[in-house]
Subunit: 330 residues, 2 copies
């Protein structure tokens, strides 16, 4: 089942079901108004959504329409919790090297997540609005899951059963605001502007064998200005899979339905596959030649993030965004 | 106007209006189901709530009932964003000293906030459930404000106009999990379990001259096991008032209605007034005698946080919680 959220006047948008080939869609509002509300009653709502999805994929849904990724929000336009991990430690090693920060041994056995802002995500085709280009704008391509209610102290094995949906993320980052922000010791705040997710979120059965029970084993393809940045495999070099990240996040408190857990920037130790953010590419250049040649994103630049199944079909649709200058009141 | 949220089967609870003396209440559900939804349409909803509040305070509301703080959630049982500051730098100086962490000069001119979990707050009379006493359980008494929609890049002056409600906070902290968590560089996650707020949130007019336009100038009174821990004045030694904290949080993104901004633990340089958390008291003991004598919270201990107006009346009602052992599935 593939789910998306139409832009409407309401902050939660309107839930739609999208066909497996991403060509058509049908409104689910007669079942539940929004994906946020669906997550809160998932056990009751899911079977009804599946019936509608089956009829759509069989070409039998009345009132189906052409699916337009430009008209959707992120699947959850807002939610009550977004925690982003850093499971691909090759990424952490490189970006920390780039800002002359230490890589404590602890990070190799103790999962690291930051609490992100979840009040206002941007859509997969919305512009990335930034006031100042000198803040150092970068993409970070990731995989994320959505959970139902997770009890405090959940085990890794039990955490696995709470994963309901998977989607892609562009966790936009402001590299030049990070060193002074992180030096304060409280984590990211202004260095992480609004995050974007893929046009659709999918249930695990859509992923087949690519979902190994804890992570998604397919290349994550990123482009900048339509040029390939990289296609690292999200199934490789992942130190902490999603059940492990969820269990860690729930150490001392419950996580409520609709919680999004991100993998962190996907990164492989085989650097020939390229990167899922510009800062890694820059750091690799510096290590190889002493100089960072690639620039971070500038106003007008575009970013694409997508993932394809074994037969070359897009699973989640493409995140496709342009960086633009934020003008207050405009 | 004083607002509270009755516990119901719904995660957002039911909005009620409480009388100025905290004795009676009336349901506001005919106007708007929840405070979360009221914040999203505040300009339209507020005048209607005020009419009902006026009638309640005049003793003329039909269907009014006795207000019982044991039956309420935090005013917002959940919301889309909770950012907590550290505006009282005397607190930051002491707790950092206690964990042998540096106090960078930057903190005296650049506001510090962390992104907190907002998916599941606990009620003002709910137990503080912790799995392990050795995690180092502490209270942190604070003041917080609730905003409407705040645009990206808002000025300090404009930020002031977005403050709609004020309440108190117990930002429960797990001291012994902090050093290793903060060493990872991503801020707090498991070291901050669920937060509790005061029984009622109030509009600015309820505070009279004690609200100076940016902060609340009254002592914040904390007790542990019914013994006074301290009564530092929230109007003193505050380096960054709420408009400044809001403007900082909105540097690179908008903040959506219902965003809660916390002050951080209130702390005065005049240590004779006592503290609003145990770790400060312990650090002051260590500085004075070389030894921390006061223990952190243990299972069975109670915590009370309250604030009184010039005539000795409780403004927000009391946060009054007991620490208890979390037993999974219980």
């Amino acid at each position: 089942m593939k789910l998306a959220t139409l832009k409407t006047a309401h902050s939660d948008g309107e839930l739609i079901i999208v066909s497996r080939d991403l060509r058509t869609a049908v409104s689910a509002k007669a079942i539940v108004p929004s994906l946020r509300e669906a997550m809160e009653r998932w056990t009751m709502i899911e079977p009804r959504l599946r019936l509608l999805s089956d009829s759509l994929n069989a070409g039998q849904a009345s009132s189906s329409f052409v699916f337009e990724p430009g008209k959707v929000e992120s699947p959850l336009p807002r939610t009550f919790q977004w925690c982003d991990g850093s499971a691909y430690l090759h990424h952490a090693e490189l970006v920390r090297k780039a800002r002359n920060a230490e890589m404590p041994e602890q990070l190799y056995h103790d999962p690291m997540l930051y609490q992100g802002a979840s009040d206002s995500f941007i859509g997969p085709r919305d512009p990335i609005l930034v006031a100042d280009e000198s803040w150092g704008i970068d993409l970070e391509a990731e995989v994320a899951v959505v959970t139902d209610d997770v009890p405090m102290g959940v085990s890794v094995e039990q955490a696995r059963t709470h994963i309901k949906l998977v989607m892609l993320v562009n966790d936009v980052s402001l590299r030049n605001l990070m060193p002074s922000e992180l030096a304060k010791g409280f984590g990211f705040l202004v260095s992480k502007p609004s995050t974007a997710f893929s046009p659709v979120a999918v249930t695990l059965d859509e992923l087949g064998a690519a979902w190994d029970g804890g992570k998604l084993c397919l290349p994550l393809v990123s482009h900048v200005n339509r040029e390939l940045l990289g296609r690292p495999d999200a199934g490789k070099d992942c130190y902490f899979d999603f059940p492990r990240l969820i269990s860690h996040a729930a150490t001392s408190r419950e996580l409520r339905a609709g919680t999004i857990i991100g993998s962190g920037t996907v990164s492989n130790r085989d650097t020939s596959v390229g990167s899922a953010c510009l800062q890694e590419k820059r750091m690799l250049e510096k290590l190889a030649t002493g100089e960072m040649k690639t620039a971070l994103l500038r106003f007008g630049d575009t970013v694409q993030v997508e993932m394809f199944d074994g037969s070359g079909s897009s699973i989640f649709g493409a995140i496709d965004q342009q960086v633009r200058k934020y003008v207050p009141g405009a």
